[in-house]
Symmetry: C2
Subunit: 252 residues, 2 copies
């Protein structure tokens, strides 16, 4: 195992959900934006934008939609947006048709640009001694969130990020052993759930030590549980949201 400051920070990553009541400085903000700016981008199209939300009323509304008390509370809130609007505007204002901007492959490139930028910023955050939590919940109520963020067509909010000075020191969460996720030469289709027994024990111990109410949980219990169970929820609106935004129209 090779060690350096970047890698040591990466392998010690944990989500921070409690921050000190102190916003980022202008210099920190500028640094994070500059890092985002230098993220690899598919075909040099630079298909992402970042929205920094500081208005209290707006933060409260987003917190309500995400239903997580730390969203838009202490620290800074960012929304990472897959953005084909800018490039559509360039084409439009220069007299061209929309071309392929409504196609799924182009949208996937925008998703990639956006998520790569997210992780790049995340690593910069941790390198400065700050912490963050990714907010997938910004898609729990897609259509309401779109309205709240007042985004133009051809944009799609992918992930939120709450960033700040850590006010907690959570334990490192045990991940799947590499043999289940990293394959040499061929994907191993011959997966056997019994092989997860040891890992399940490790995860159970982790929760046992972490939770004051001692919830008994394991990895396979989570995967077979509510998280993935059938349900009718607002997240089902994602395809509708994408079409409404003029994205992925080739599915029509």
């Amino acid at each position: 195992m090779i060690h350096n400051k970047t890698i040591d920070s990466q392998i010690n990553h944990r989500s921070i959900r409690a921050f000190k009541d102190q916003p980022l400085t202008k210099e920190q903000l500028e640094t994070l934006y500059t890092v985002a700016q230098h993220t690899p981008t598919s075909m040099f199209m630079q298909n992402f934008s970042i929205l920094h939300i500081t208005n209290e009323a707006k933060r409260a509304k987003i917190r309500e939609l995400c239903n997580q008390q730390y969203v838009g509370a202490e620290g800074d809130l960012f929304i990472f947006i897959a953005d084909l609007y800018r490039n559509q505007q360039i084409r439009k204002q220069l007299g061209k048709d929309d071309g392929r901007v409504h196609m799924t492959d182009i949208f996937f490139q925008a998703m990639e640009d956006t998520i790569l930028a997210f992780q790049n910023v995340a690593n910069a955050v941790e390198s400065m001694g700050l912490g963050y939590v990714p907010l997938g919940t910004i898609n729990d109520h897609p259509l309401k969130m779109l309205e709240e963020l007042d985004l133009p067509e051809l944009t799609f909010p992918v992930l939120g990020m709450q960033v700040g000075i850590p006010n907690q020191e959570p334990q490192l969460k045990p991940r799947l052993p590499l043999k289940f996720t990293c394959f040499e030469e061929e994907y191993n289709k011959d997966f056997k759930v019994e092989d997860l027994a040891d890992y399940d024990k490790i995860v159970t111990t982790y929760y046992d030590l972490r939770d004051s109410n001692r919830r008994i949980d394991s990895f396979t219990k989570q995967i077979t549980g509510q998280k993935l169970d059938k349900a009718i929820i607002d997240r089902d609106q994602l395809p509708e949201e994408l079409h409404q935004q003029g994205l992925c129209l080739d599915w029509k």
Copy 2:
């Protein structure tokens, strides 16, 4: 602007497309996998896998599909895979139905896990003095690539990565100024293509200095050009590929 080793490496990122003829060591490989392992993951579902391709014949086949001479040439080739197969198997083998694994929101979570892991690995690569290039071209011929990689249902190859010891020193590519991509409080819908004139000049100068054949190019020229022009190409197969893999079935 804040500086540290991680950030300095990030803001100096450039894609490397020429590598020395020396594969990664076991220690480097293990380090990169361990970094991937510790990437944030949506709902703790760990929905990604990495496939490391070393077989020459397979690398040649992938290179042909990507139509880029550096794919699977010097250095190491990885395919980053959005993977819901493992969790479906857990549910199946423990007597549960597939639940929500065929839904778009769950697939997007898997995309996120995969792309976050990609950038995390990318940053570790550069922190070790190595270089990489992201390979979006692994989706240029989606159905053929699926066959070549012999992946099970509920998986989707998102991005490839060619990694190695740099054998070139490309120039830093100028990115869109932050005012176009990073917004305070509200997304600025009032985009005007004239405002890109200065940036276009910078990009033109970059290509002018880089290319021996002195191609004249600018950002707006690229966006209004072939990259985004309407065309019938194999990338149009993406929705079909996803359905074939049992993903995003709620679009049906």
